[in-house]
């Protein structure tokens, strides 16, 4: 079941094209990563989903139905530009946000007490927000986002402002929400964190979606059959053994170990390579080099840039890269 589907969304701000025909589909109870560099159009897309801005064309469906104003109560949104009223007391403020989402006072209070205890910020209930540390304010914000138990959660750069310990806490919280059936859209330019939690991603660059799919699928489609072998022995023997089916990309010596990177021209031959090499020396490590999302991102975005500069033509290619 699709919790959210955006079809061919276009949005222009005067001369600037923010989104040119972006479509995404988020399945229920999964984490969908919306990746892209700053200014790619992620936040604009999220604002359209939250009905903060309207698209010029294109349509958004929530739970199979066209997006309606009342759907807002079933969405929890943690914006990138987030904050709290500084002069208001923490608990009172969390209660206010909960009630804006349509919760009753008693219901909201009950759940808030539970969450405040869980995140260990109960002692700050009656303190003004300006007395809180940044990390604590972020926790309050996170709580107010999830409190009304929305079907869809949208986190825009959720980890910014968190120290590593609290970032981990937040990550496990997000995974737990998914376990409990919530669908999550996770927008970030931090690829490493996206890779850890997302099931599916879409890469947005320069107002266009340039890539999407399951993380494992994307990685597989980007792998180049390159292997890294660490061994004790002589290069010459390897070079002699690795014949036409292989291409040696690099060799280096580090801390007494020889490292060699090899590309297989025929992907099925990795076991053959192992047997071929077994006689050449003592192999201590053999692994396939799978590109990280970060690598794929840089590659995909880089290609986009090259294409763009080629259109404009007069920039030297080295500079464009």
């Amino acid at each position: 079941m699709e919790i959210l589907k955006a079809v061919d969304i276009k949005k222009t701000f005067e001369a600037h094209q923010a989104l040119s025909g972006v479509s995404i589909t988020c399945k229920e109870a999964t984490i969908f990563g919306l990746l892209g560099p700053n200014g790619a159009g992620k936040t604009t897309l999220i604002r359209i989903i939250n009905q903060i801005t309207a698209p010029d064309s294109g349509e958004v469906f929530f739970n199979g139905k066209r997006l309606q104003p009342h759907h807002i109560k079933q969405i929890g949104y943690l914006p990138e530009e987030r904050g709290l009223y500084k002069k208001m007391k923490t608990g009172e403020q969390a209660l206010y946000f909960a009630r804006l989402k349509g919760m009753s006072r008693t219901d909201a209070l009950k759940r808030l007490k539970f969450q405040f205890d869980k995140f260990d910020i109960m002692p700050w209930w009656n303190k003004k927000v300006e007395e809180l540390s940044k990390g604590m304010a972020q926790k309050v914000q996170f709580i107010t986002t999830i409190l009304h138990q929305p079907k869809l959660l949208i986190f825009d750069e959720p980890f910014s402002g968190f120290d590593p310990i609290n970032a981990n806490l937040l990550k496990s919280e997000i995974l737990e929400l998914k376990e409990n059936g919530a669908s999550i859209i996770f927008s970030t330019h931090n690829m490493a964190s996206a890779e850890e939690v997302c099931d599916k991603i879409a890469l947005i660059n320069n107002s266009k979606k340039i890539l999407d799919g399951e993380i494992s699928e994307i990685k597989n489609s980007f792998k180049t059959n390159t292997y890294e072998i660490i061994f004790d022995g002589k290069y010459n023997k390897f070079k002699a053994a690795l014949t036409a089916d292989y291409e040696i990309l690099s060799t280096e010596e580090k801390k007494g170990e020889n490292i060699i990177k090899v590309r297989l021209k025929n992907p099925a031959n990795s076991n053959n390579m192992l047997t071929t090499m077994a006689d050449c020396g003592k192999i201590s490590s053999f692994r396939e080099l799978i590109p990280s999302i970060q690598d794929i991102f840089i590659q995909a975005v880089g290609e986009g840039k090259v294409n763009k500069t080629q259109e404009k033509s007069d920039l030297p290619e080295a500079l464009a890269n």
Partner: protein, 419 residues
């Protein structure tokens, strides 16, 4: 509970609970009752210190001129020598010496003292001497004080206006003052609370709380909630000021026995007090309420739009000026309009929607308006408010999500046309 009501509640409660609001609410009535009470209090109590004034009257003519008052005691010593008196009073801070030279008072007299002489004593002496000297001169011409008393005439002027309900004692001056005070209050409240709306919007922007909120409510609901919430704060303050001032003035009058109001009642020309009671207050009170709320809505929505387009208060200046100019202009014109409440200037100022909230109540108080003028003024004002709120909402919706950009008028126009 409705989201707009929730927003109104938050805007209202956070402001009413603020220390500055409580202090202002308490100080306001104290200042206002001080206006009523202090002149009366000074008049009744006067200075604690009795000052002794030795009058060295070389002419010997002013024996009975100086009557002792609560503050001053006069000692007539025509034969004393200035030097001796000065010697006697060397360390006396509470005494003064008045020297009337042999040549008479026309060339002037001198007051000597160890301490600064207050304006009260000086004018008391000048008044007494002038009156007495005048009397002496008149007597030399053969005119007695009896002649003068008999010749004095006081003509009380009563103004009566023909109205549909018959003749009514007119109370123009007092009502005009009431209208002027109403204009001042409306002006003050629009400015004070309008800029509070602006500051509130900027606060939400700079603390980055705004996007969190508009993911739950529509920007228009947030703007409307803020404007209405702050209006209620203004009305609360206004009401509390009225009630507290009343309590303080009433309390002082009844329990401390201080006559308030400086005895205005006694000094008023006959018929005036009666006029105060027979005056039809309803149109004035109604118009104050209507034009206050309408004027506030008009300006508050503009202020909200300005706040949304700025990142901090200094950025607002370029937009503040054109908005505040009509307001200040209306206030500046109020005094001259009070003189001619039916004139051309008065008419146009009470029709133009950006000045009418201040000028129309003034004209109503002076009873110098036609029913159609009032209807036209109100209709135009309501139409303008509707349009202004529409424009402001458009700007607000885009502005609250714009950061770090210096906004021009051209930019604002683009925002209005966004989908």
């Amino acid at each position: 509970m409705n989201t707009v009501l929730l927003i109104i509640q938050r805007e209202y409660l956070t402001r009413v609970k603020k220390k500055s609001f409580i202090i202002m609410t308490l100080i306001g009535p104290l200042l206002m009752s001080a206006l009523f009470v202090i002149p009366a209090w000074i008049a009744t109590k006067g200075s604690d210190e009795m000052r002794f004034v030795t009058v060295i009257d070389k002419t010997g003519e002013f024996v009975n001129t100086f009557k002792d008052t609560k503050e001053y005691k006069f000692l007539w010593r025509p034969n004393s020598k200035l030097k001796e008196v000065k010697e006697n009073l060397k360390d006396d801070k509470n005494s003064a010496v008045l020297l009337i030279p042999k040549e008479g008072v026309t060339k002037g007299v001198t007051i000597y003292s160890n301490k600064h002489i207050g304006i009260g004593l000086k004018s008391h002496i000048a008044r007494s001497l002038s009156a007495e000297a005048q009397n002496i001169n008149l007597q030399k011409l053969g005119i007695t004080p009896e002649h003068i008393a008999a010749s004095q005439v006081h003509v009380p002027v009563q103004t009566v206006k023909w109205t549909d309900e018959g003749e009514k004692t007119d109370s123009a001056e007092l009502m005009m003052i009431a209208g002027f005070i109403a204009a001042i209050i409306i002006y003050m409240f629009i400015f004070m609370y309008g800029s509070q709306v602006m500051r509130g919007v900027i606060e939400e922007k700079t603390s980055r709380v705004v996007e969190v909120i508009i993911s739950s409510v529509k920007p228009f609901q947030l703007m409307a909630g803020k404007i209405i919430g702050i209006a209620l704060v203004a009305l609360t303050q206004f009401l509390l000021w009225g009630i507290l001032t009343g309590i303080i003035v009433f309390g002082l009058k009844n329990f401390a026995g201080i006559e308030t109001g400086g005895g205005i009642g006694d000094k008023l020309p006959p018929g005036m007090m009666e006029a105060l009671f027979t005056y039809n207050w309803q149109p004035l009170l109604f118009s104050i309420l209507f034009f206050f709320i309408a004027g506030y809505l008009l300006y508050a929505s503009l202020f909200a739009a300005i706040g949304s387009a700025a990142d901090n208060e200094t950025d607002t200046q370029q937009f503040m000026l054109p908005v505040t100019i009509p307001l200040i202009l209306a206030f500046a014109a109020a005094a001259s309009i009070m003189e001619q409440p039916s004139g051309n200037v008065a008419f146009w100022f009470s029709i133009i929607p950006f000045t009418s909230p201040i000028i129309m109540p003034l004209r109503i108080a002076a009873d110098a308006y036609q029913a159609w003028e009032l209807a036209l003024s109100m209709a135009i004002l309501i139409a303008t408010i509707t349009a202004t709120i529409w424009f402001a909402a458009k700007i607000y919706r885009v502005g609250i999500l714009m950061y770090g950009k210096k906004v021009s008028y051209k930019e604002l126009w683009k925002w209005i046309r966004y989908k």
